[in-house]
Amino acid sequence: MKLFEYMGKEIFSSYGITVPRGRMADNSQDAANIAREIGGTVVVKSQILAGKRGKGGGIKFASSPEEAGEAAAQVLAMTLNGHKVEKVLVEEKIQIDKELYLAITVDGSAKKPVIIASAQGGMDIEEVPDEHIVKQYVDVSIGVYPYLGREISRQLGLTGSIGKEFNRLLPILYKIFREKDAELVEINPLVISGDKLIAADSKMTVDDDALFRQKAVPYVEDRTSIEKQAHDLGLAFVELGGDIAVMANGAGMSMGSLDTLAYYGGKPANFLDAGGGTGVEGTTKAIELLLQTNPKVIFINIFGGITRCDDVANALVQVKNAREIPVPVVIRLVGTNEEAGVRILKENGFEAYKVMHEAAAKAVEIANAS
């Protein structure tokens, strides 16, 4: 779950990391008032869950409360990278002597946290040449101590009070990373401003799987309406925009289904992992979700392990009986209780395929013909 910039900054600040003075506004008048409180030149920053806001005009400077109000009005009317701006952060403009990059994230390959730092901040870290990036893995059984800060600040060339401030900041950022179950905490740019280090931006992603114990972290919804319904049902669902609605059991199997459809020239409407062992009710709801994407055909691909073929068949029949299914359903059904499942389908006018790619080819044929 991604957090908005201002949320990350609030967390940073509560842990003792310096951030610019500022507050949130969702209208022009509030923005002007905040600018007045702060005084001097302010920055009006759109709050969206995407980067590259500056290029789209989502970050504006204002040298008076009136200008701040105008800037806020403009930004609040924007849609940036597909995200409607609903709030702006109005902040003091800080003096920038130098911009650094600092992040901690999970390295799946090393199976541990990795600190990524660079003396070339302000731009996307992907654009910074490798030789200007300092990487340091963290042993979770040890954690991050000031010595690691000293070593990294040495490599970054930070000295004096800025070096000391960096060494203080790094263990704090790691503490946030761990205590908030973050997948990513990123400060870019981390600004050298006189003798201070200021987190001028924040990017923070909290592990969805840890939200149950992160009650203090604000909840941010970043799903489409259907994705949200699926999530509430415990299903993994991603909208893809095509015309073949897909359901399979297992994430790998679902991806394999999409790939097979694509191989035959089909355009999947979605990814839907119905999971293993989902019963009649869950499967019924999953099928109803599929219908919401208004597909030309529904492709169901079940390899029954824990999932029972008869459950899937019964679910499909149940949906059919409860409401009209306006499009053809191509179903591949093998595995546990296969015979019963296939019989139920036949009795209710559905044909069952045995082989995945044959079923996929058929689904594509229907979609592309209609």
Binding site: V106, G108, S109, K111, K112, P113, E126, D139, V140, S141, R178, D181, E183, D207, D209, A210, F212, R213, A236, V238, L240, A248, N249, G250, A251, G252, M253, S254, M255, G256, L258, D259, T260, L261, A262, Y263, P268, F271, D273, G276, F303, G304, G305, I306, V334, G335, T336, V355, M356, H357
Partner: protein
């Protein structure tokens, strides 16, 4: 032979009295797995399917030879249960549980590494040394003994491929599910190294998916292997920035793409199947 587990492996089931634990204990017993005990705090002294239940893993290892443990424990409590098994000296830990927080997974993997415990998972179907021992949740009927080693990141897709192999007369030495999460205990390389040394294994099937760089790292090792490798990578059609069910299956910042993986594997000498059903045929051609 086989890798990691075999017919002598003594297994305990943590969470044996839950629905999942009970059901799969039954299934594993039916497959022939030597289950010597279950653990369920507060339920010590009971029996499940004739298997003695203990209050703690410590109690179990005091009473039984325990070589492996499988966890059917809800995600919020999985780290505690894993730590219990690892500190009690269990050497193979199969964590079926999905949705374990990634920080807990890092902690589990770190401690396991330090204590010499092999962790299969989390978010895995488990591991099967076909015909000898199954630890986890895959359906019994598709796993028959043979010369093919299988290592995979995903579950049902692996059953599909194993089912195809078996249907084509190609049994398996061991089938290992690494787990679908971003941080898991075993990497492809760990398993490939074992297959390379295993006399039973003649060829290896690698079932990968988009996201991360596990397949790219595997390629570096495959280059040095004497045994042939056939791969299938899921997620060719997945758009960047979207998680395809698995925490690890996401293309972020242009890394972990399908093409990058396929190219790396092919450059290393692996055959890459376009669709899952092609895998047995590619194996056949190689083993001819």
């Amino acid at each position: 032979m086989a890798i990691i587990i075999n017919e002598k492996t003594n297994v305990i089931v943590q969470g044996i009295t839950g629905n999942q634990g009970r059901f799969h204990t039954c299934q594993m017993l039916a497959y022939g797995t030597k289950i010597v005990g279950g653990v369920s705090p507060g339920k010590g002294g009971q029996e499940v399917e004739g298997i003695p239940v203990y209050d703690t893993v410590y109690e179990a290892v005091d009473n039984q030879q325990v070589d492996a443990s499988v966890l059917f424990i809800p995600a919020p409590f999985a780290k505690d249960a894993a730590f219990e098994a690892i500190t009690a000296g269990v050497k193979v830990l199969v964590i079926v549980t999905e949705h374990i927080p990634v920080h807990d997974e890092m902690d589990i993997v770190e401690l396991a590494c330090r204590k010499g415990t092999t962790v299969v998972g989390p978010n895995t179907f488990g591991i099967v040394s076909s015909g000898k021992c199954k630890i986890g949740i895959p359906p019994n009927q598709f796993f028959v003994e043979g010369p093919i080693g299988v290592v995979a990141r995903s579950g049902t897709l692996t059953y599909e491929i194993v089912g195809n192999l078996t249907a084509n007369g190609l049994g398996q030495s061991t089938v290992v599910g690494l787990g679908g999460d971003r941080v898991v205990g075993l990497s492809f390389v760990d398993v490939l190294e074992k297959f390379e040394k295993d006399p039973q294994t003649r060829a290896v099937v690698l079932v990968g998916e988009i996201g991360g760089n596990a397949e790219e790292e595997a390629s570096l090792y495959i280059k040095k292997m004497t045994k042939p490798v056939v791969a299938y990578i899921a997620g060719k059609s997945a758009p960047p920035g979207k998680r395809m069910g698995h925490a690890g299956a996401i293309i972020e910042r242009g890394k972990g793409t399908f093409n990058g993986k396929v190219e790396a594997l092919q450059a290393a000498g692996a055959k890459v199947a376009t669709l899952p059903f092609e895998v047995p045929e590619l194996i056949r051609q190689i083993l001819k």
